[in-house]
């Protein structure tokens, strides 16, 4: 197995390499993606990466950027026009207004802050917050809602749109299911414990279920100890302040999630940002920090901690863990890895990016993750050495002030993890992980062949498809719904203003037929809306594809 794939991959790399040289000559440059990555993997860092690391961040042709800005410009002009008409009274005011008695209070919202919301977001608002009325599995039922006044208000017609293919929910391993057998233990625990806990961890809130769950999580990840919390967002925002404080330095990736940013801000430490997944930028910051010390006093930093995520949810890129760990060891910094999307989704047995790169969990100081995505439950965990977890048990804000996890939810995580580890006697867990890997690679390959611009690593189940223009955001989501496929579209401010995208989340529960339906629909829609911006479609090298396909279907 190893040898033929090495040759294959070498072959593939060679072609990539050549292609880039041609492009560089013709003056079209690329972002920190294929060019540097491919060269490094081929030559100097061949020893660091045990498998090839292929990420794509293709840039669209210039005319696309121009048209995008034009689209936003037109929207803004109309926005000003509408605001003017509303102020004159020519048009009806749809938004709720302040109370009569409080009209002379200082206004709660500045008009300008809400300009974007009022004029641009309102037009395409029907693509978000779509209510569903079934389990969020590979297919779900949407409640039909219509608007009579251009998205200012909605009403439900009472009908449901059945069996919409779900490409939006974070259901990577397909554990969001209602199969009675699978949920047997959860039903039992719900009957025994009830729904709430009504207490914090340090008071009466630690149930035996929590202890069982923590031990299982520690075993799953291969670390000494773990601690679980009731909410993933709160895990970050309440524990980072416990670990770092004033006089420490936080180096955080450009595209980190809001929970990490909030936790870093609440801690009071100094924050410096390095370019997304860019190890040179990080190294520069590390050297500067150690050499020059704190900004005014020049004293040495107490600690330096690096905050990164396993898979970035908007880009689909995977963190460059081997280089990061070697940097961290060289400069004696600490590493905090947020595996919200990658736990369960990557790695040969679903243990996250640490396993994906073949590294040991001892290399990462703080392993954090959430149970919402791959395990179909809710909550978060932090795992690592026993000292770390003991410290968090005593000093974390969450342990003292926040309620613990619901026991039925804890049982769902326990059964999902046991399934993944094979402790329930079946190989179902491993099958799910393999199915997810196959689905991911198939989906990404077909999208590349069709000519869409896709961001991210070839192995990440988060697939962002670039739309760029604001008008296409609304059109894409609505037409996909008409074809009975539910997608998620994101625009500004979650992404840079010119890079609106549709984000697909591949799941192990998707069958080949479902993926094919989606791909055919995308093909048609791509031609209709002219979304196929990519200048290199892979279909020009069919013989390469035959080889890689053989390698995967073993």
């Amino acid at each position: 197995m190893a040898n033929p794939s090495a040759v294959c991959n070498g072959h593939l790399h060679h072609h990539h390499h050549q292609k880039q040289n041609n492009l560089l000559k013709s003056g079209i440059y690329k972002k920190n993606g294929i060019t540097k990555g491919a060269k490094k993997n081929g030559v100097s860092n061949g020893t660091l990466y045990k498998k090839t690391f292929i990420e794509h961040f293709e840039q669209a042709p210039m005319y696309v950027a121009v048209l995008t800005f034009l689209g936003f410009g037109v929207g803004t002009i109309f926005g000003y026009l509408r605001d003017f008409m509303r102020a004159c009274g020519l048009e009806k005011r749809h938004i709720a207004a302040e109370r009569e008695e409080q009209k002379d209070f200082v206004p709660l919202y500045q008009d300008f802050e809400n300009f974007y919301t009022r004029n641009l977001y309102m037009r395409i608002r029907d693509n978000w917050n779509r209510p569903i009325c079934s389990v969020p599995g590979p297919q779900f039922d949407l409640m039909e809602r219509v608007t009579d006044d251009y998205n200012w208000t909605f009403r439900f017609t009472g009908r449901t749109i059945k069996n919409v293919i779900n490409m939006g929910s974070y259901n990577y391993l397909g554990f969001a299911e209602t199969d009675v057998n699978a949920l047997k233990t959860v039903t039992r625990e719900l009957q025994k414990y009830g729904t709430g806990v009504c207490s914090t961890r340090q008071e009466m809130g630690t149930l035996d279920k929590h202890v069982e769950l923590e031990q299982l999580v520690a075993k799953f990840l291969g670390v000494e100890d773990a601690m679980v919390f009731g909410m993933g967002f709160a895990t970050n925002s309440m524990n980072i302040p416990a670990l770092v404080g004033k006089g420490c330095l936080i180096l955080s990736d450009e595209l980190n999630h809001t929970s990490l940013v909030l936790g870093a801000r609440l801690s009071g430490a100094t924050i410096r940002i390095f370019k997304h997944n860019n190890m040179q930028s990080l190294e520069k910051l590390l050297r500067e920090a150690i050499i020059y010390g704190q900004p005014r006093s020049r004293r040495a930093w107490r600690k330096i901690i690096i905050l990164v995520e396993g898979i970035y949810s908007m880009e689909g890129s995977i963190v460059r863990l081997p280089e990061l760990v070697s940097l961290k060891k060289k400069y004696k910094a600490y590493l905090y890895l947020d595996e919200a999307h990658s736990i369960g989704a990557v790695g040969a047995t679903g243990r996250g990016v640490v396993e994906y790169f073949g590294m040991s969990p001892d290399d990462v100081d703080v392993l954090m993750g959430t149970f919402t995505k791959s395990f179909g439950a809710a909550g978060g965990y932090i795992a690592g050495k026993k000292d770390l977890v003991d410290f968090l048990r005593t000093h974390s804000h969450s342990a003292v002030y926040a309620t613990s996890m619901c026991p039925a939810v804890a049982e769902q995580i326990i059964r999902a993890m046991k399934c993944l580890m094979g402790l329930d006697g079946t190989t179902q867990g491993l099958q799910r992980v393999r199915q997810l890997g196959k689905n991911t690679r198939y989906f990404r390959r077909r999208l590349h062949e069709m000519g869409f611009i896709i961001y991210g690593n070839d192995d990440s189940p988060v697939v962002p498809l670039l739309l760029y223009m604001p008008g296409k955001i609304g059109a894409f989501a609505r037409r996909m719904l008409q074809k009975n496929i539910g997608v998620v579209v994101v625009g500004f401010p979650a992404t840079p203003i010119t890079e609106s995208r549709a984000r697909f989340c591949v799941s192990a529960a998707h069958t080949r037929e479902m993926l094919d339906t989606v791909l055919n629909a995308l093909d048609e829609l791509g031609d209709f809306l002219r979304l196929k911006y990519s200048r290199y479609s892979k279909s020009s090298h069919p013989e390469l594809y035959e080889e890689t396909r053989l390698e995967l279907e073993d």
């Binding site: 709720a96 978000w128 009957q191 149930l207 809001t258 004696k332 309620t403």
Partner: protein
């Protein structure tokens, strides 16, 4: 360059976490086996439970459990997404409607974690440069919300209206020096209905008078008073007989009286709708598992159908207070 390499070699960071002594009082948790209802088994011993916030005793109610079971069969456990991306279930919408109806406000919004409710609500309205007057004994979640908002915080002595009025007067004189800035600086008072740290009630009628006199908005945190105070459990506004529209925002968590998990904010649509796009704990976090939402709806049903449980609770509290005070 040689010097730089030396500096890098020499630098020693602190250990990631200081070591915790083995006998730290908070290190070894009391492990509760079985459901934490009125009698609990703590570390193997059977005890009467005076520690959980199970005010209405709904934690082991059969109706609540069966509602949760039905929801589990239909929806599974998790929602696999935030509210914006297919994480909105019909149970969430139903719970929001029911809560708004129960509290007699226009709209309600649900969060998936009690702590995150007030900690996300405050920074959504109050930004850098705004002024917040907050009671000294405010709970930790409020403190974190204030820290995240970066506004200027003015503490007044616990339940001392004279102190608060003094601070407001000082602010008024400041405003007169700079009227332009004053016109855009938002002002808020954040108080709790029933204080977690001291156990007493805030003097709401006086606060309302101060609100209209000095033009400040009030945010009321009712985690402990929801389902406890008031004739039908609507909280401190019902207890004092105040028009609920006078309070700008009421925030509560469902983890005490409602025996579920999560939190909600209610108020007029003008105020609540803003949180749907700018409440961090709402937009960037997965939504509440539907079985917990269904349990909360059932608990609300019980609260509405049996208004005498609040009388019972109050009678028991008075009895204990009398007995302990001697």
């Amino acid at each position: 360059v040689q010097e730089k390499e030396e500096l890098i070699e020499e630098w020693q960071p602190e250990p990631l976490v200081p070591s915790v002594p083995k006998d730290h009082p908070a290190l070894n948790y009391n492990i509760v086996s079985g459901p934490p209802t009125h009698t609990v088994t703590v570390n193997g011993k059977k005890c009467i439970n005076f520690a959980s916030f199970n005010f209405l005793g709904l934690l082991d109610n059969e109706k609540v459990k069966s509602a949760a079971q039905a929801s589990l069969k239909k929806y599974g456990v998790g929602t696999c997404g935030p509210r914006g991306f297919y994480g909105t279930f019909d149970v969430h919408l139903e719970l929001e409607e029911r809560l708004a109806e129960f509290m007699r406000t226009e709209e309600a919004i649900i969060y998936s974690y009690g702590f995150a409710t007030i900690a996300s609500a405050i920074p959504a309205y109050s930004k850098r440069g705004d002024i917040v007057f907050v009671d000294e004994a405010a709970c930790f979640a409020i403190q974190k919300g204030l820290q995240a908002s970066r506004s200027s915080i003015k503490l007044f002595k616990h339940n001392d209206m004279a102190d608060l009025e003094r601070l407001l007067k000082e602010q008024e004189t400041e405003d007169q020096k700079n009227p332009r800035k004053a016109r855009v600086t938002r002002r808020f008072i954040v108080v709790e209905g029933l204080y977690m740290n001291t156990g007493d009630v805030c003097p709401l009628p006086e606060l309302i008078k101060l609100k209209y006199k000095y033009k400040v908005r009030i945010f009321l945190e009712e985690s402990l008073s929801f389902g406890v105070l008031g004739e039908r459990g609507r909280g401190i506004t019902e207890h004092f007989g105040i028009n609920i529209d006078d309070i700008d925002l009421i925030s509560a968590n469902m983890e005490n009286s409602l025996a579920s998990i999560g939190g909600f904010c209610c108020g007029r649509s003008f105020i609540i709708d803003h949180q749907r796009l700018s409440g961090q704990g709402y937009c960037f976090s997965a939504s509440l598992p539907p079985l917990l939402a269904a349990a909360a709806i059932e608990a609300l049903n019980i609260m509405e159908d049996n208004p005498d449980i609040f009388q019972t609770l109050r009678a028991k509290c008075e009895r204990i207070h009398k007995a302990l005070q001697g």
